[in-house]
Symmetry: C2
Subunit: 417 residues, 2 copies
């Protein structure tokens, strides 16, 4: 790969060789991808693993329709949040009993922020970053309001300096949803621990996209979603991680019956369940949860280091081809050029970004637009090939050259700015 | 029906006539029910409507696999919480824009209790009842802890007297999950309003089981679940109702991005969405939500007054047959004899309740057990026939007569108590 990218010009033949040598190429067969589509969504909904439909049919037509209420036991529905959490733990460097599937990222973040504030009773500051995904910011603001705490967001460059002894919790997204740049999890966590603060990591664009070593980084808490690079289906349930050392004192505010130590004894007083069980609230949306579990089979036997290598190679190839083919069309790069500093996405900027993304989608290349000028492309290493990257860039070039009304509009824009 | 029940003895032929004359009998065909099962679950999971499998196949294999991210717009996934809420509103006497589907009952109750406390800033008391479903009690306790408020639970008979000017919110379940007895919603609400308090109704065992007139009762707030008598599938998403007059001041604490007025502008500051939209938090578990929407087709064209009449007739027939056939076996009745005071369930008591329910299930009659001695039977008027009721009681009688080890155990128990 490095050899190819350092050559004067990358040609289709080079890219085909990369595919032929790809140790993860066989994983593409695990997904059902529509004809004529290159799916570079970045990533609000992962592609559908082929393991899902048959599992869902069984869940609906056998477990629900025939097993009925008995399936909570007979089909092992009850332990699904723990079981699926355990499977996800392998992808994020955690122990199985440190991860559970429940609710959405937003709801889990709420639980964690309140629980973490309660672990630092003398402190009232939640520290975040400007440019974080909005729900993280909104939830933190809501928690601050409720707990008479304060939520302060600083520019990423000012973050380390802002981690002081006033801070109770640092709340960050690992891989930024717009730029694809990621934080050094171990370094930030270390800095926070040095001043007695705790850190919550949002792994929305990390889990399944790249390896992540929560325990090696001494992470305290993390949340993440099931519907992006875990391919769990639209709105798939989210997960939450709490390091084992924090389980004992974990006091989250959404005290629902599934978080009770013995939910089916229907006692009047709440007694928190063991470990992560207390992060459960209401009854899990079982059909969505079953789809997520089936989808995770796409990761069976996948070496996450190979996945990371391929992700870096795909994104590097994309940037190289954009440089090589699109230099005259006014694109900017919002993602770090250094592959060791970005997740599995590349964001371009362009003043006509929205129109270009729409034209690209019309030609079968699905990326997405993030206001005001970001064209975001995600590269799911399990199902994206190097030729997909080649074709995506060539189609984009064709759009820029031939779709004259858009080009005219761009040139006009260029003339005035 | 009344004629039959006042006769000296109900016979199978009488019951068959009731089925022949049942104006809702055709609705049974809308459900896929397994052979050899009489499904009187009371009701933790409704039976599967036949409208679900094909809809789910389309959602998974077309909308997800082929439409991919585009389906949020093209398959109308985004407006599903509002659309499904609107459909449910017709079953509970609300306006379409007063109901939205989101999260679980527990999470929705948390949002509502905090929002309601904020509407009564001078007051700190949440009033509940002893014997309410545990999650309602746990969530209220958790909110009280968080808001420096107090949660007080009183015996149902003491409830009216406890609704005083200290009370901010009265939090009750409409139909009790154990006894099936229901509160006079209008009277309790009136009493609460007289002292300046607000009321939250949990409709878990109401929605779809019997008509409910939230607006006629001047209800403030309600929550309810999708997986019981709405038949939405295991852990189907829940719904929440807020009377239109409270929308303006509604300030719930789980400020997630889907509750923002413009979630896809990704702005830094949270601005609450219009009306019920602000009750949304994270991304809806779309597959579970689609199953719920498809399931609700089972209610198409159903006159809820006819449903209520049938529900009363089914439960009355069950009680009559228990009296007639099982009087010597030591069963008690935990549900009001007056049909106008109970929902769509009948709970019997028996010291050997757990063993009896297990034996009943083994014979194909699925009710459920609630500790310590409740045998709970739910009667879903859309798919339960009068003959089902007859057969359920006759099988129970057979168990009590012929399963000698259980009978011996019961007689021994009877001898010592």
């Amino acid at each position: 790969m490095n050899q190819i990218l350092s050559a004067p010009k990358v040609r289709l033949n080079d890219v085909q060789i990369l595919d032929a040598q790809d140790p993860l190429a066989h994983c593409r067969e695990r997904f059902q991808l529509p004809d004529g589509v290159i799916y570079l969504d970045g990533n609000s909904l992962g592609a559908m693993p082929k393991s899902v439909p048959a599992r869902m049919t069984r869940a609906i037509e056998q477990e629900w329709a025939v097993g009925l209420i008995r399936s909570w036991n007979d089909a092992d529905w009850y332990p699904a949040p723990q079981r699926v959490g355990g499977r996800i733990s392998q992808l994020i460097g955690a122990k199985p009993h440190e991860v559970i599937v429940a609710d959405s990222i937003s709801v889990n973040l709420f639980k964690i922020l309140v629980a973490a504030l309660r672990m630092r009773p003398g402190r009232k500051r939640i520290l975040g970053e400007i440019g974080n995904f909005p729900t993280d910011v909104y939830i933190a603001s809501g928690v601050a309001e409720l707990m008479e705490a304060e939520f302060i967001a600083v520019e990423p460059d000012d973050l380390l300096a802002a981690i002081t002894e006033e801070v109770a919790i640092v709340s960050l997204t690992h891989v930024n949803y717009k730029s694809g740049k990621f934080y050094d999890m171990a370094a930030i966590t270390q800095r926070a621990h040095d001043v007695g603060a705790l850190v919550v990591w949002d792994l929305a664009h990390t889990a399944g996209a790249m390896p992540c070593e929560l325990n090696a980084a001494k992470a305290d808490f993390a949340v993440g979603c099931g519907y992006k690079y875990l391919n769990g289906g639209p709105g798939a349930p989210a997960f939450v991680f709490v390091a084992e050392r924090h389980h004992q004192g974990l006091d989250q505010p959404l005290k629902g019956w599934h978080g009770h130590v013995k939910p089916f004894e229907f006692t009047h007083d709440y007694v928190a369940g063991n470990g992560m069980d207390r992060m459960l609230v209401g009854t899990a949306p079982q059909l969505s949860l079953i789809a997520l579990e089936a989808a995770l089979e796409a990761f069976d036997g996948v070496d996450m280091q190979l996945l990371r290598q391929k992700s870096q190679a795909l994104t590097s190839l994309f940037i190289t081809l954009v440089d090589q083919e699109l230099s005259e069309f006014g694109f900017g790069l919002a993602t770090p050029r250094d592959a060791t500093k970005r997740g599995s996405q590349v964001s371009l900027t362009h003043p006509q970004g929205y129109a270009i993304i729409q034209a690209h989608i019309a030609r079968g290349v699905i990326g997405d637009f993030r206001s005001p000028n970001i064209l975001r492309f995600g590269f799911a290493s399990l199902y994206i090939s190097y030729c997909d990257v080649w074709n995506a860039v060539m189609i984009l070039k064709d759009i820029m050259i031939n779709e004259t009304w858009k080009r005219a509009e761009f040139m006009k824009q260029k003339a005035v700015t």
